[in-house]
Amino acid sequence: MIKSIVRSALAVAIFSSGFLSGGSIAYAQGDAVKGEKVFKRCRACHQIGPGAKNSVGPNLTGVVGRAMGSLEGFAYGSGLMRANADGAVWDEEKIAEWLKDPKAYIQSFTGDSSAKAKMTFKVRNEEQRRNVAAYLATFATADMMKDETPDRMTHGDAPFETKMAARGSDYDTSKYVRVRQELVMPPNAPKHEQVASGPPKIVEVAFEVEEKKMVIDGDGTEIIALTFNGSVPGPMIVVHEGDYVDLTLTNPASNVMEHNIDLHAATGALGGAGLTTVLPGEQAQLRFKATKPGVFIYHCAPEGTMTPYHVTHGMNGVIMVLPRDGLKDEKGEPISYDKLFYVVEQDFYVPKNDDGTFKSYETAGEDFGDWVEQMHTLTPSHVVFNGRVGSMTGPDALKADVGETVLFVHSQANRDTRPHLIGGHGDYVWEEGAFGNAPMRDLETWFVRGGSAGAALYTFRQPGVYVYLNHNLIEAVEFGAAAHVVVDGEWDKKLMEQVYHGPIR
């Protein structure tokens, strides 16, 4: 729940009574409750309480009664180091005096006029100084031993220093069977059951971020792609509704940038992005329950401009969550597929030189300024399937046989697209990708909204070559958003026949 003041007034009252703090008789005891308010300003540099650490200033937990300049791991100024050597110990009175003017105090206290103090902050009001000292006295050294509250850098100004790395899992998942999904390169989908056998499982998925050079067209245009597992798009994940996805995201130290993953199939924490932000050399593990059946995109979502920058450099892909009993037609009858083609449409915004040629870069992030400028035009330099022009044409064309049923899964993380199979149809189409809805029947072209995935099931009836494309023909033909399907089998004259071809009769 939303947080309230942590320390109870009761505890403060007991400890600030003066009996425990050992203040001298002449010293007027401060009010710890009021001191807590003053201490808010001290928090700019100091932490206190369970889990507190040295920051700009030393950890103040247990400072009253502690030897001056004695906290391990903090580089004190020369004054407190001298006081430490002299065996001086902090009490409330000394703290109240120190706060008036740390440098002047330590010089007078040590008798060394060249003594240095790091603390530049002064509390001019005497009552406030006494109150803060009384507040500090309410924290015993023993508080330092208590469990820390884990803080994790995520976005904006979240504190950085405490990692959740040591945090294990609290939720008992021992009753679930764990399976590791062997990920494969697009346009393939990992081996999976269409109808789940057995109860929900935990499906382990390992993603490693690779920042690498990739050629994206036939002219040899290169970008420093940002990838999940070295491919654009990232590998497809397939689970069933009710399964857990246990995803490990690794950002090797050899990378330059910060990464994370937002899965549209996951619930909470910005789709997991809030819990998976990893710097080079870090790893995060996220477990989430796949509660909604359908095809969903996932993508990297760091902060601000970095989000579209990372996505337009290739960091997106699809997770498919199948209903446990498989796909169904509009009447609720089971339907299945023989093959799955995984197509992710990718917009690139490659900057150009003055002579109109595409620029090239050597390291990840080097193109940032130019790329962002190009993104702002909302006009991609390339719109391609699976990372490059021609990724599924010619030698890499998709293959099927007459009579085979194929599920085309198609996503676009940014822009709208309109898949179409030239010479075929969408027999059953989940345009919005949600398998809980009845599929639409017999579409010519279907619409996949930017930021989503859709699925279309088709049974090939004729052999030959089919073109599967974004039926914005400019994007397909001029920019690259097209794939070919080569289908083998017997021509069916009942469906089509060339009756005549020749000079005009």
Partner: protein, 243 residues
């Protein structure tokens, strides 16, 4: 801009050596009239270290940046044309290029302040960490979302650029956040662990990717977007470069 985070540090260090000679023919009338390094007002501040810290009274101005641009080292930055204005729209690597150029020109080892140094020189108005929005450890990722109004609204932040603090330093509370050398609150200037994010300081602490020069475009994440980012140069007493 140009290099990766890791490489640029080495590149910056290398250019420190080779640009020294060129510095003598610098542009800008101020540097030709006055002794080198005098056009920026530095304030000597005792922050408890062995040697005092010399802190530029103001953040780097557009005029100072344009001198570096004229010299062929720095790149023009969008909208940065008014010489007296505080420079914005620079990323961390831009700041490093400027510092390398300026150090060579003046023969002084300039650098960015560390986060701790910045907080100490901001003394009486250092930003106070926000109260956590949530206390459940599971919600730590969202705990720093700021639902409070800013201490100063954005319009007032701009006016705050002439506020002088007790050390005589100005512009620490204005709308231009300042890059620091630090990547973590506790590990000042620890280059090895910085990766590609750095702390920028203003009226709140912000952690920014090094490549960002326009931080106002904060996206879907939590956190507290800042209007602008620039930088201030400092140097240690007796930090003159040899040769």
């Amino acid at each position: 801009m140009g290099q990766s985070a890791n490489r640029s540090i080495k590149v910056a260090a290398a250019s420190l050596v080779c640009v020294v000679g060129i510095g003598l023919i610098s542009f800008g009338s101020a540097s030709m009239m006055e002794p080198r390094g005098q056009e920026t007002d530095f304030i000597q501040i005792d922050i408890g270290s062995e040697s005092n810290l010399l802190v530029a009274r103001r953040a780097v101005t557009v005029g100072e940046w344009l001198e570096c641009v004229a010299d062929g080292t720095c790149q023009p930055r969008p909208g940065q044309v008014v010489p007296d204005a505080t420079l914005t729209h620079v990323n961390w690597l831009d700041a490093q290029s400027y510092i390398a150029w300026r150090s060579a020109k003046d023969g002084v080892a300039y650098r960015l302040p560390t986060h701790a140094e910045w907080v100490l020189l901001a003394a009486e108005h250092a930003p106070i960490p926000l109260e956590k929005l949530f206390d459940a450890p599971e919600l730590a990722w969202a705990a720093d979302y700021n639902m409070n109004p800013r201490p100063l609204p954005e319009s007032k932040l701009a006016e705050a650029d002439e506020i002088e603090n007790s050390f005589g330093v100005v512009g620490l509370q204005d709308s231009v956040w300042e890059w620091t050398a630090s990547c973590r609150e506790t590990a000042d200037g620890d280059q090895a662990e910085c990766s590609s994010v750095r702390i920028a300081m203003g009226t709140h602490l912000s952690i920014l990717p090094e490549l960002v020069s326009d931080p106002s475009k904060s996206g879907c994440g939590a956190g507290n977007p800042l209007p602008f980012v620039g930088f201030r140069i400092v140097h240690d007493q007796d930090s003159t470069l040899d040769g």
